[in-house]
Symmetry: C2
């Protein structure tokens, strides 16, 4: 595996969480899938992270980490902590621009999240 510059670590983390979880209505769910699915939901189970995702969604593109301090009313280390959680879960993508870090929603993760939460998917 080579480094394509888009962050190998981030991609492998995504494989561990977002990629491993399954729709809630899946016919048969393994223990590992239940764990991964729960981890995805737990990642979104904090008001600060919900707001981060909302802000990124509304922005429609990359947002600087520094822009979250005021909007969230949280300190820099705390925001960094939440951004890392979201990124590790595979929901966010990190991009270095000069000395600033920009974050954006990963479209694959967005699609997966909707699929995971859709309980009526396979219903008649």
């Amino acid at each position: 595996m080579y480094d394509n510059g888009n962050g190998v670590g981030v991609v492998s983390a995504a494989l561990e969480v977002v990629a491993c979880c399954v729709p809630l209505g899946v016919p048969v769910m393994t223990e590992e899938e239940a764990d991964a699915t729960a981890r995805l939901f737990r990642t979104l189970g904090d008001p600060a992270r919900v707001r981060i995702v909302n802000i990124l969604s509304v922005a429609g593109g990359p947002v600087c980490a520094c822009d979250f301090y005021d909007s969230l009313g949280l300190g820099q280390p705390t925001v960094s902590y939440h951004l890392k959680k979201l990124t590790e879960a595979g929901l966010l993508e990190r991009e270095q621009r000069g000395k600033w870090a920009f974050f954006s929603l990963r479209s694959e993760a967005v699609e997966k999240l909707a699929a995971v939460a859709d309980l009526q998917a396979g219903c008649p």
Copy 2:
């Protein structure tokens, strides 16, 4: 407010969580909405509760509390605890049948969950 026999307590709890949360992509999100939305996700942020929802989804109807002990590999008090969490969040409906308690997914909650997790809702 009168008791229609479907459990007033459950309905008011639903109003407090499922009903109060908003889609992640909503243009403007209040602090209370972020809290409620995070609480909904946190409710699904446990493997046992994910499996309960999955089992109920596959079953397609009410399931007895006692049927979860073996499938989850958890003790009766713990299962009762998780069922209460899900019910309080407005995701489940409790129904007394003789001395047994049956639980089922609330269709409104199922729809709301899908809407909340759908980030592409208002996108072009």
